[in-house]
Amino acid sequence: MKALSCEQAGLLLDLFAAGECDPADEKAVRTHLGACPTCRQTVEESRQMLGLLDLTFRSDAALARLSHALRSQTKPQRRPPLVHPFIQPLGAVAALLLVAFGLVIGLAPVFRSESRDQPVLQLALVTGGPAPPDAVRDKKALADAAKIVTLEARNKAVLEKQLASAVTADRWPLPPRVHLELVLHNPGRTPLEVQLGGPGFALELELSTATVIRRTSPKPAFVPFPERTLTIAPGDSARLPIERLASQTGNRVEYLYPTEPGKYALRVRLSTVATHPDRPSSRRAITLTAGPVKVAVHPPR
């Protein structure tokens, strides 16, 4: 690999900061940045500029999210009465006695108000196998886990013939296996329910090459994430195998078949809905990205 001059690197720095360099350029820029404080400063300026663009273009959506959070703070949830209205006054008296008794015997902390923070979810993409479950929290563990993933390219002509001859989507060849896992982490102090599959859920896999054949089916033979709810305990992580190179939006699945050997970067974008189970009003749509993980695509056998 030929070393870049500052002039050559300068043409790539903004795309590098935006994560849009192809792998070869990215490697060359990283090498150059290791020895060039001026270009490192430029990358930092570019990241600030990109952050301001995100703020500017996303401010409407962010203010809508804030508005929702403000409303949930000003309108307490009205829950249906647990007991017959006639008995409610008795219940209130009982509650008062319970509070008074609780204070006396030291149970007062039980009545502290819950944190009103929105659900927060963190995401990492790691290779499958021996990666430690806390890879999402630990820099070294994540670096160790983010090793290269290998898979085999499809012969384009053969694949297109197979796809054309398959009568229904369940006869399509399955996309290649990938030993990857999503690590979802709940950094909060209360349990978090996360929706997998179904409406409102999407997992998009983006491989840094255009030489990928994509096929989408609403009724695929392989569904990465069947519809269910995952509960993550406070401070805990859940590991979800990806298994095959396939994106999913709701119940629609897109198979990805790389056709050209090479080394690529794989990123994922997860959209889901998270809720604190004890506070339905905390329900919130969350979009997270993770990666890149290096993917080596070998020639077809």
Partner: protein, 188 residues
């Protein structure tokens, strides 16, 4: 003066529990506070959550009867504390293992008014630059930063080569960065 008077009215309404009034205040300060936090934590992916936390904390304080003397200074103070708390706690975050983020130190003291002016100046420069861009480039930025599409997805949607999309974006980013950077730093 009208702006200040309007702000005072909005604060008074918020003190009485009017969330819509506070929403108007948030609309005024959302981007400056976000830009301030971006400068502090250096992580665009965290800024939105920190801004939300800042405004929710401010709203709670106002509803509890806190009456700030200077709203903007007080708000930036909350944002400053949020950023400081995050930086001190080394909150659990995600990162590219090959490119760990630089964690800037918490500044020793906050000069909120100067910060507000600086961020407003940066954002005005950005708005001015965006307004002067041709529609085609602005559309690319919308697709990239509002919708979060990658260059490949943009290229597919527009039916253009991905190399062209990257080249256009790269030139646009460079132009914007140079206009936003006071000393106009260049790779040499």
């Amino acid at each position: 003066m009208d702006t200040l008077q309007g702000e005072t009215d909005l604060i008074e309404r918020t003190l009485r529990g009017d969330a819509e009034a506070f929403q108007l205040l948030a609309g005024r300060y959302y981007r400056p506070v976000g830009a301030f936090l971006l400068k502090r934590v250096g992580r665009a992916d965290l800024v939105e959550d920190l801004v939300q936390e800042t405004f929710l904390e401010a709203f709670r304080a106002l509803r509890e009867g806190r009456r700030p003397e200077h709203f903007s200074s007080w708000l930036f103070g909350i944002a400053h504390n949020r950023a400081g708390r995050w930086l001190r706690k080394r909150r659990l975050v995600l990162f590219d293992p090959a490119d760990p983020p630089v964690t800037p130190a918490v500044p020793p003291e906050l000069t909120a008014r100067a910060e507000l002016e600086e961020q407003q100046h940066r954002l005005a420069a950005l708005d001015e630059s965006l307004a002067s861009l041709p529609d085609e480039l602005r559309q690319l930025l919308e697709m990239k930063h509002r919708r979060g599409l990658t260059c490949e997805q943009i290229a597919r949607e527009l039916g253009r080569p991905v190399g062209t999309v990257k080249s256009l974006l790269s030139r646009t980013y460079r132009l914007l960065r140079e206009r936003l950077t006071p000393h106009g730093s260049e790779a040499t």
